[in-house]
Symmetry: C2
Subunit: 287 residues, 2 copies
């Protein structure tokens, strides 16, 4: 489906799974006249060009954003902060800058010193896949996905409406909330579960070193429950570092929940345990 281009030149800084999928979505739907990509590695650039995720590559953030109407930061969060500094005055006046990172407060704060006439709106598409890298990119990655935007109170409403139009055009549903609330909620919906899965696989591996029979016992339950632990360590390192306080608070609550469950188990009252399990099942079914 070809539409009128919503965007003139788009610059995507970081052409991995999410950046590459966005490039594919913009290009395959005719949503941008040109997509410029910034990647550190020549191999990624070649793959992105071969897949059709970008029209051409740039050698620096400043070069990539030149004359770009839409700039999308799509690297791990701390690299995105570096790119913000590097692009500096190279931004076109009136450019719309956004990102796709999993934490929002830090990047939104870092963007405050941006070129005065550019607009920054933090973003986070709730879309991912087990694999990472541009080779896993797909034009339909954002179909039906929630795409959070965290505009500040001073945000230009016209720019916000435009960004929401682009997001809907790639198939996603824009949802607005504050960066603070976003970071608090994703600690529970994503970061905490990721780290809990990491703990589970590390414990299982340690046990399997002594008892290799364990590996024959891992069923689809364990595999599903721990799939997220296979996420890109560089991306997750930055998530941990930029959402540390909310993650620590969440892990504290998780420990409390586990401690009260341990008491329940130790008491061994069947009806009470069944109620706990039924409430978990009910909660899961409603999600």
């Amino acid at each position: 489906v070809s539409q009128r281009p919503l965007v003139g030149r788009a610059a995507i800084l970081g052409v991995g799974l999410v950046g590459g999928s966005l490039g594919l979505a913009l290009r395959s739907r005719g949503l941008a006249r040109e997509v410029v990509g910034l990647t550190r590695r020549a191999e990624t650039l070649e793959a992105a060009l071969a897949l059709g995720a970008i029209d051409r590559g740039a050698r620096s953030a400043a070069e990539a954003v030149k004359e770009a109407d839409l700039v999308v930061l799509a690297t791990p969060v701390r690299t995105a902060k570096e790119h913000l500094r590097e692009m500096g005055g190279g931004l076109k006046s009136g450019a719309l800058v956004t990102d796709v990172g999993s934490t929002k407060a830090e990047i939104v704060a870092a963007a405050q010193g941006l070129t005065p006439r550019a607009v920054f709106i933090g973003g986070h598409p709730i879309a991912g896949a087990e694999e990472s890298g541009v080779k896993a990119a797909r034009a339909d990655l954002f179909e039906e996905a929630t795409w959070v935007l965290t505009p500040t109170e001073e945000c230009d409403p016209v720019a916000l409406a435009h960004l929401e139009e682009v997001i809907r055009a790639v198939g996603a549903r824009p949802v607005r909330m504050s960066a603070q609330l976003h970071d608090r909620l994703v600690a529970a919906s994503s970061h905490g579960p990721h780290l809990a899965a990491g703990c589970l696989v590390r414990l299982a591996r340690r046990l399997a070193e002594e008892n290799p029979e364990l590996l024959t016992l891992l069923g689809s339950g364990f595999r599903d429950a721990t799939r997220i632990a296979a996420g890109d360590p560089a991306v997750w390192r930055d998530i941990c570092l930029t959402n540390r306080d909310w993650i620590l608070a969440f892990l504290g609550k998780l420990e409390e929940e586990m401690t009260s469950l341990k008491h329940l188990l130790a008491r061994g009252e069947a009806a009470e345990l069944e109620l706990w399990l039924a409430s978990a099942r009910q909660a899961r079914r409603e999600m």
Copy 2:
């Protein structure tokens, strides 16, 4: 594929997902001359007959096991222990009795007082599905699945070999280990992950009550990680009660792992965090 019947009369006590699937597998492959089912509810009996999971129903454990060559306990563990008591002297001399429960030490111990000439071998197929109940039963549920057997040292090797033949005939891979080791390992591969998922969904639900936006943020990562929490509460209650010590020991280790992760987060050293995350990814990929 029709084979010569390996079993004359099979009795399945508890015709839910696993018992029903076993009945379907035995009948559709011609592995048993007759399959008798015991269910508490008339509705389940009708569904099991309609699906072809059993040939006929019985009204009591004693009636079900009459003249049965193979008896399979397929209820939650504590009900299986009751059935063991009820069937008592009704067992055919030389009958092979097994179960499909997720914990083994308690049922193996309970079966020690069985009719002298019957043989009990504890079993645990590592197969399941999100749904429970006979309506979710499938003849291919055990294809490629590990099926643990926990024979005692005194176990008749002929009976054990026969049971393994039946297990292979329904498509699964029999694996032998002690009941003790089984219970210790499944606390890490299944019970602990289940309860951790339960904690995650209970926390998310509580947060969503104040912040319904949370529900829009739940992606496939959260859903996969918590799918197991939707398991049947009656089954999981009995698992918790019959594997309490290993589960408590595992939850203790999980808390230690989380505490050391919290320290790591609090220190905020990027390289150290990335190593932790990379080790989790590596462990997950090898599983």
